[in-house]
């Protein structure tokens, strides 16, 4: 392989390091005006009146829009029937809800005027906990009630099998809301016209196009969505981009002026989706030899005010709750609930971090109860090729969990530390499996085009988005490998809904696999044309020709070669197609809807982490001494990008486990800024050592599997286990802050 598996610079990096990359907020058009919204400010109630006079009379204000001014249904969402208004018309379901849109000559004026809008709200008692939402007499947040979705998974005899276990461990685990905290707040810029164009910082441009069109009440084809360079997303720039994207387009068409809406940081936290808080009740039964025979798990997700991706996250928790283990009997119930808080949706890991924390904590508790080594219990129960996973799916290959465990076991042991000093030391392990592709969450298709020019350079188009994760580089590598050209000669189009094919959402670690397969297929078709042309030119059979180093080369005589540009030029004039549009479709998920037994994902990424920590018993401060993160990624396409994905995802998991928590008081977020919502700084980084394991995956390009999400779950879980080991206290809630650690040390000191 010339390019696959080689360390490659990010193909779109030049623009980023020079400041030339155009993010949505960098677009400037003549006559552009700016939008800002007035938010509800109270978590629940009914709007009784809106006074916009003060705002309207503010110099510089151009327009003031309320729900009545939305031409279409005033609804967005992920799954129909959509439940979330662009601007609230009557009901207020969370404090960050948008009610009025102000358009002004400057963003400052728009914000100032938004503060002058007075929304009269007849408040309800807000429903702020899942328990309150599920109470029999609870007020219904939505007409259909307070449950978004509740699903069940049943394998074997389910919880009934717990009776047969020699030991059973039981626990309740909780996690908090987490903000994506991408550095670029959500931003869109709409340019009016007969066909309107929206430049958006976003994750899924076709999803946005559909909602913009519906809310403008025009056909989808008359809307052009261009993904601007996007400053991080992690699942977060879907719903909110449809919200502000639709608002900007509606205002732009009304005023016939370009409209830019950029969230402030505070709005990014209170007014766009978060990671679900979760409460997970879990029982695990095992035999004395360590074999787990049954798990019973109940997952309760706080989904906030609107459905968003909650149904899919619910499914993901259902399927992943029992972990990467070969267990005969599994029973899981997952339920997502509405509350009067900021809505929750997709966030890197998509429910898996929450359930993995619970599962891996309990595996440690089980090991302790059995007196077994904590890594050994994972080895004994961990999935192998041919095993039946919790949905009963059996993979004949690319189940690399055991290898990740071996690799972790082979790492140098942490140095021994004397007991009794100021510092406590601990080591934790955690394993994870995360499904790749949409799987049970929906049909999984991607379309990609590959087009060679006469000079031999190549243009790739795909509807999946680059969000920083390096997908464009991976696709370029695949094409460069297939066509035998230098990666510098491959460019990947911007995602413009006019120019690329709808490839579904950029989620579920599917860009490399499902997207990569489409790119591979299209590239192979172009390759066929080139080889046919070269065979004609060299007067030989096609099988004698290979594409390499920018040439069509005769296999038996390396010196007989024609530059690929000459082949491409000849092919062009001969009429051989140099462009192909190909689709890849993941095998359809095939499962029983009542038990969720069946084939769900095209593959899983498996991982095992080890973390060594030092805890200051006087302050609760933690130093991560080592962090080993082994993941079975099928095949490494770009080692540099892969390491970056594992390291970055791990720090998000670490933040979730140690530092990050959205604090609510009375339904209002108290820490909607980067001073009080503490994401890790460079001084908080952890020394992640990423270790790829390659267990060839037949459903991915060159055997690859996605890798962007799984380390989040493993890193969060391994932190909890390492800290619990150091403090000799089982932590059951994330985040485990310095304060929690100190409390535990003192409790332990008092009782032990």
């Amino acid at each position: 392989m010339k390019v696959i598996g080689k360390q490659v610079r990010k193909v779109d990096g030049f623009e980023l390091v020079t400041g030339r990359a155009k993010f949505a907020g960098d677009y400037q058009f003549p006559g552009m005006v700016y939008g800002a919204v007035k938010r509800a400010g109270v978590p629940a109630g009914r709007i009784t009146g809106i006074d916009i006079e003060g705002a309207r009379n503010t110099p510089g204000v151009i327009d003031v829009l309320t729900a009545r001014d939305i031409p279409g249904p005033n609804l967005i969402g992920v799954l129909p029937p959509y439940d979330q208004p662009l601007l609230a018309a009557d009901e207020i379901r969370y404090a960050g809800e948008s009610v009025v849109l102000i358009i002004a000559e400057t963003a400052e004026i728009a914000r100032f005027a938004a503060n002058l809008v007075s929304v009269s709200i007849d408040p309800y008692d807000p429903i702020l906990t899942v328990d309150d939402a599920l109470a029999p007499d609870a007020r219904k947040i939505h007409e259909g009630g307070n449950i978004t979705l509740s699903k069940k998974l049943l394998k074997g005899k389910g919880k009934a099998a717990l009776e047969k276990a020699d030991v059973v461990v039981e626990g309740v685990y909780e996690t908090s809301f987490q903000d994506h905290a991408y550095l670029e707040p959500e931003t869109v810029c709409a340019v009016p016209g007969r066909r309107i164009t929206l430049y958006a910082s976003c994750q899924s441009p076709f999803h946005i196009r559909g909602h913009v069109a519906a809310n403008l009440n025009v056909p989808a084809a008359s809307v052009i969505v261009v993904q601007a360079v996007t400053g991080g997303s992690f699942g977060g720039k879907d719903d909110v981009a449809t919200e502000i994207g639709s608002l900007a387009c509606i205002a732009a068409q009304r005023l016939n002026r370009p409209v830019l809406i950029a969230h402030e940081r505070k709005e990014s936290i209170i007014g766009s989706n978060l990671r679900h808080a979760a409460r997970i009740s879990s029982k695990t039964g095992a035999m004395n030899d360590g074999r787990i025979i049954a798990r019973e798990i109940t997952v309760l997700l706080d989904g906030g005010a609107y459905a968003s991706e909650s149904p899919f996250v619910t499914m993901k928790t259902l399927i992943h709750a029992a972990g990467p283990y070969n267990i005969e009997n599994v029973e899981v119930t997952s339920t997502s609930v509405f509350t009067n808080k900021t809505y929750c949706g997709a966030f890197r890991g998509f429910g898996v971090p929450q359930v993995t924390f619970a599962s891996e904590s309990q595996i440690d508790e089980l090991a302790d109860k059995l007196g077994m080594d904590r890594l050994e219990i994972r080895r004994i129960n961990g999935l192998k090729a041919g095993d039946s996973n919790p949905t009963g799916q059996v993979y004949a290959q690319s189940v690399g969990l055991q290898e990740t465990i071996q690799v972790i076991a082979a790492q140098p042991a942490p140095p021994a530390h004397p007991d009794g000093g100021r510092y406590l030391y601990g080591t934790g392990y955690a394993s994870v499996a995360q499904g790749i592709s949409n799987g049970a969450e929906g049909i999984d298709v991607a379309g990609a085009s590959v087009q060679m020019s006469q000079d031999g350079s190549v243009l790739v188009g795909i509807g999946l988005t680059e969000l920083g994760q390096g997908s464009r580089t991976v696709w370029a590598q695949i094409v460069a490998e297939v066509l035998g050209v230098a990666i510098e000669n491959v460019s990947v189009r911007l995602v413009d809904t006019d120019a690329v094919h709808d490839s579904g959402p950029t989620v579920a670690s599917r860009s490399t696999t499902v997207g990569g397969m489409a790119v591979l297929k299209a590239a192979n078709e172009v390759k066929k044309s080139l080889i046919s042309m070269a065979a004609l030119m060299m007067q030989t059979d096609e099988e004698n020709i290979e594409l390499r180093d920018g040439f069509a080369i005769l296999k038996m005589d390396d010196s007989a070669r024609i530059p690929v540009s000459s082949v491409a030029t000849a092919a062009y004039w001969t009429g051989f197609p140099l462009m192909n549009l190909a689709f890849s479709k993941a095998p359809e998920a095939n499962f029983d809807d009542d038990t969720h037994q069946g084939d769900i994902y095209i593959a899983y990424n498996y991982g095992t982490h080890r973390m060594d920590v030092q805890v200051d018993a006087m302050t609760g401060k933690v130093k991560v001494l080592n962090h080993f993160a082994a993941h079975d990624v099928g095949r490494v396409i770009n080692p540099l990008g892969l390491a970056g994905q594992i390291e970055g995802a791990s720090l998000i998991g670490f933040g979730m486990a140690h530092m990050e928590r959205i604090n609510y008081a009375g339904g209002i977020i108290q820490n909607a800024n980067f001073a009080d919502y503490a994401l890790p700084s460079i001084k908080d980084r952890i020394p992640t050592n990423s270790i790829p394991v390659e267990d060839h995956n037949p459903t991915g390009p060159f055997g690859a599997k996605g890798a962007g999400e799984p380390p989040v779950a493993a890193a969060a879980a391994v932190f909890a286990n390492a800290i619990s080991d150091a403090v000799q206290f089982r932590f059951t809630k994330l985040p485990i802050t310095r304060e929690d650690i100190l409390n535990a040390i003192q409790q332990r000191g008092n009782h032990g």
């Binding site: 503060n115 200051d616 006087m618 302050t619 609760g620 401060k621 530092m659 604090n663 108290q670 820490n671 001073a675 009080d676 503490a678 890790p680 700084s681 460079i682 001084k683 908080d684 802050t737 310095r738 304060e739 100190l742 409390n743 003192q746």
Partner: protein, 292 residues
């Protein structure tokens, strides 16, 4: 909005008197307040064009006494980097915000903003700093202990400019250290901070000053603790013996950043660590350790 940039202190004082404007120094707090809409001054008087307000000067008298004078617009970064200044103040300055903030923010701004978690405040208290306030009518000098009256409140009147901060040379000759803890390691806001400054003779502590921030509406001198420490062996301090006197001296609150209980526990640890830092400096430099 009017924006004025005087070039002398007297000009600034008279502009302040006549315009009733607000003072702008580094702007790292003021710009946030303006962005949040907490204040929208009609007139801003930017002091950072006044050269006389910048830099550090030593005025020694004949008896090895005298004062070190810090111009109020000296940046936090300059304070942190100044080898002339006592350790606790440099460490406190180093703990403020980020490099970017420290390059803009000024020590006068940190003092006048009077946030209970301001990281230079506890050090200044332990150094017996004096704050020189200047108005069109003249100057007055306030002891740091009497300067702060509540969160973001001081005795400074709207027509007064904090001109300089004076440290007794005697304070600068002592051993000192600062410690803080926040919700993360980088760019953290103090949940608690602590500064100690003391003289050591024959290993025993004297002339002890201890101050803590973020545990009360104002930065607090812990006088009882100072008395407790006086005469004790700097090398032999244990966490256990500090616990009671520290906990008795502070009454922290719960807020979004921390619980009262955690603040209490960590204050003990920070005072302990600061003392240990002092002990380390003493054992390295020996008797008469001086950081000036």
């Amino acid at each position: 909005m009017r924006y004025l940039k005087p070039s002398s202190v007297s000009e600034a004082a008279s502009l302040l008197e006549s315009s009733q404007g607000m003072i702008l120094a580094g702007g790292t707090d003021m710009c946030v307040y303006m962005a949040e809409g907490f204040c929208s001054p009609e007139t801003l008087i930017d002091l950072t064009g006044i050269d006389a307000l910048r830099g550090i000067q030593i005025n020694r008298d004949d008896h090895e006494a005298g004062t070190m004078i810090i111009g109020a617009c000296t940046t936090i970064a300059e304070i942190a980097a100044s080898e002339e200044l006592p350790t606790c103040l440099r460490q406190g300055a180093q703990a403020v915000g980020s490099p970017q903030i420290r390059n803009l923010g000024t020590i006068g701004g940190n003092v006048c903003n009077a946030s209970p978690c301001g990281d230079t405040l506890a050090p200044l208290l332990t150094l017996d700093a004096q704050f020189v306030l200047r108005s069109a009518g003249g100057t007055r000098t306030i002891a740091s202990e009497n300067f702060f009256t509540g969160p973001k409140k001081t005795v400074r009147k709207p027509n007064e400019i904090l001109e300089s901060i004076e440290l007794p040379i005697a304070s600068c000759g002592k051993v000192s250290a600062f410690r803080m803890i926040g919700n993360r390691n980088g760019q953290a806001i103090s949940q608690v901070n602590a500064s100690v400054c003391l003289a050591i003779a024959d290993g025993r502590m004297s002339d002890v000053r201890v101050a803590v921030g973020s545990v009360a509406p104002i930065p607090l001198r812990l006088v009882e603790l100072e008395r407790f420490l006086t005469g004790k062996d700097i090398q032999g301090m244990s966490l256990t013996e500090l616990r009671e006197p520290v906990l008795e001296a502070i009454r922290p609150i719960n807020d979004v950043r921390s619980s009262a209980k955690y603040r209490q526990e960590v204050t003990v640890a920070l005072v302990f660590d600061a003392l240990a830092d002092c002990a380390g400096q003493y054992s390295r430099v020996g008797e008469g350790a001086s950081t000036c």
